[in-house]
């Protein structure tokens, strides 16, 4: 745990997204550990969820789930009905205009520590508003708990650091879990456009349209922006503009398998594809590797700041792994990304 806190401090991240590969991989355990560590250091924390956390039982498996303890002095953003039902003593600071099926989201201060259920907004813009408000109120760190396998809270628009939670419930075998996690890591660590000039024209293209085609033009680049109602609807037009001079395609929205497949039909040597950030990548491993095997590259305008991976060797359906072996295998496969089993660490400390 100390090491994870040190990474957060060294990288000076203030808004941290905890995202998961799927359900039951230990997102809330990681959240609780961070809450406890920040409390020990007397740092003010702001809590919000991209989904729904802290309930006693899992809605689908009916198994008990880890609950969330909000310490005194923290801030929490949660739906009105959860505010009313919290065991922690909360004071209403302000009511947002973000609606959920459990009422408008309220920003509360924790007067006396206790259990709380966090029900958050379904949108990145909502999370962004709530984190900004909690920072303004005096939160020093904000923890954004993820939901199921959703990644959007890792967007640089909302958070400046991300912790990825993974675990045994992700797949039928340990190797499968390792493989799926390693692939997600590869996507999340998509490099930024290193060439300053190319980055500049890519940004220009997206400022003017939903997608853009970048052409080589002597020593420099020329960009043609394509306007559409949503970026996906600009793809066909963009690809139709492919020529020998095409230096890159820039897509302002989601990058899905079909786009890459169509691109590879155009040419045996596909040009690089630039996306806004890694939360826009919806590629499957097969398509991704066919593209990269042909020399295709994917780059991002903004980088996701992946801090660490936390792992959970247990699975609610009973398929558990030996924690030491799992940790060693994950550490090896994901190197140099730091990997932690926070529960195992806690046990070792207690011994």
């Amino acid at each position: 745990m100390d090491k994870l806190i040190k990474i957060i401090e060294e990288k000076d991240c203030r808004a941290i997204a905890i995202v998961g590969m799927t359900k039951n991989v230990g997102k809330t355990v990681t959240l609780n550990r961070l809450i406890a560590e920040f409390e020990k250091k007397r740092l003010t924390t702001g809590l919000v969820s991209a989904g729904y956390d802290g309930e006693r039982f899992d809605r689908l498996t009916l198994k008990e789930k880890p609950r969330i303890y909000a310490p005194q002095g923290a801030y929490a953003a949660t739906a009105g009905a959860c505010f009313e039902a919290a065991e922690a003593e909360l004071v209403l600071i302000e009511t947002s205009d973000l609606s959920t099926p459990l009422g408008l989201i309220i920003i509360a201060g924790v007067k006396a520590g206790g259990l709380i259920e966090l029900a958050g907004p379904g949108s990145v813009s909502g999370l962004k508003k709530l984190t900004a408000r909690m920072f303004a109120l005096g939160a020093e760190y904000i923890l954004v708990d993820g939901a199921i396998n959703r990644m959007a809270s890792a967007s640089p628009q909302v958070t400046d650091g991300t912790i990825l939670a993974t675990g045994a419930s992700l797949g039928p075998t340990m190797e499968d879990v390792v493989k799926k996690t390693a692939f997600r890591l590869k996507l999340m660590e998509t490099p930024t456009v290193s060439e300053a000039l190319l980055l500049k024209v890519a940004k220009k293209g997206l400022a003017e349209g939903s997608a853009a085609v970048v052409y080589r033009s002597g020593d420099t680049y020329r960009v043609e922006a394509i306007k559409a109602a949503i970026p996906l609807l600009a793809v066909r037009q963009a690809l139709a503009k492919f020529s020998k001079e095409t230096a890159a395609f820039v897509f302002g929205g989601a990058l899905v398998d079909d786009i890459i497949t169509e691109l590879m039909k155009l040419t045996p040597n596909p040009p690089p594809v630039i996306v806004k950030d890694a939360t826009k990548l919806f590629l499957t491993p097969g398509t991704f590797s066919r593209f990269t095997d042909r020399g295709g590259r994917i780059m991002a305008i903004n980088r996701l700041n992946l801090l660490a991976v936390t792992i959970n060797p247990t699975d609610p359906s009973g398929r558990d792994y030996n924690p030491d072996i799992f940790l060693a295998r994950m550490t090896e496969a994901l190197s140099p990304c730091p990997v932690f089993d926070l529960v195992l660490e806690g046990k070792l400390k207690d011994q």
Binding site: T22, K23, A50, G51, Y52, E55, R59, L60, T61, A79, G80, A81, C82, E84, A85, A86, E87, D97, S99, T100, P101, L102, G103, E117, A119, G120, G122, S123, V124, S125, A147, I148, N149, R150, M151, A152, S155, S169, A229, I230, P231, L232, L233, G252, G253, A254, V256, D258, T279, K280, F282
Partner: protein
Amino acid sequence: MEIDLSRIKAYGDSLNDGAVQVSFTLPVPAGDEAKEAARQMALKMGLEEPAVAEMADLGAGFSFFVIYGKCMHTVNYEAIKIPRRQQLVMSFGEVNEMIRKEIKRKVVVVAACTGSDAHTVGIDAIINMKGYMGEYGLERYPEMEAYNLGSQVPNAELLAKAVELNADAILVSQVVTQKNIHLENLTELVELAEAEGLRDRVLLICGGPRISHELAIELGYDAGFGPGTLPNHVASYITAELVRRLKAESK
């Protein structure tokens, strides 16, 4: 009758008698030994004075039991807090009236079963003209334009269609099981909408036999509707939420 809500017990014939009835099947043929086994099972469950009220042979070496007993445990009802919210429900007429008065244009709803799901019963009940349980479907609402795209619609296609039709709301139906694949198909739509900059422009609503408000929040949807939902529940939500947003914008 004074009920202590901090210590409630099951009720049978008189207050606080703790009487309960349980039933189960044992993999043994009916008989005196089976009856005793059932009684012991009930004792292990913590029931006091268990009595086998009914034993029936199920054939193939199985037998079924109904047992009465007393459960001495108490529950503190006063300490239970469940987050809950009353959903506004309007009638067919009220919904149309509200759209005419407050929105002043037709409300566009696009519905589909996404991914590999081909269970269209739910979405058909909500959308189709004839409706369900005496409530007309959204197609019948004069102030709504409802499009049912059918089953196995890919998420990206659904979003593109919603943009083309200028949809106010997207309604997806999915039979969620414990298998993560169904959940992940639902979350993918939310993530795609976010990546495409559409998330704040359209209401995302999910429905299905396992879907609740809480699960909808977890999935990232604006609302979720489970079993027992009628078309006017969905229409009421969409209309009231659009009006709320319109008012918030004009503030």
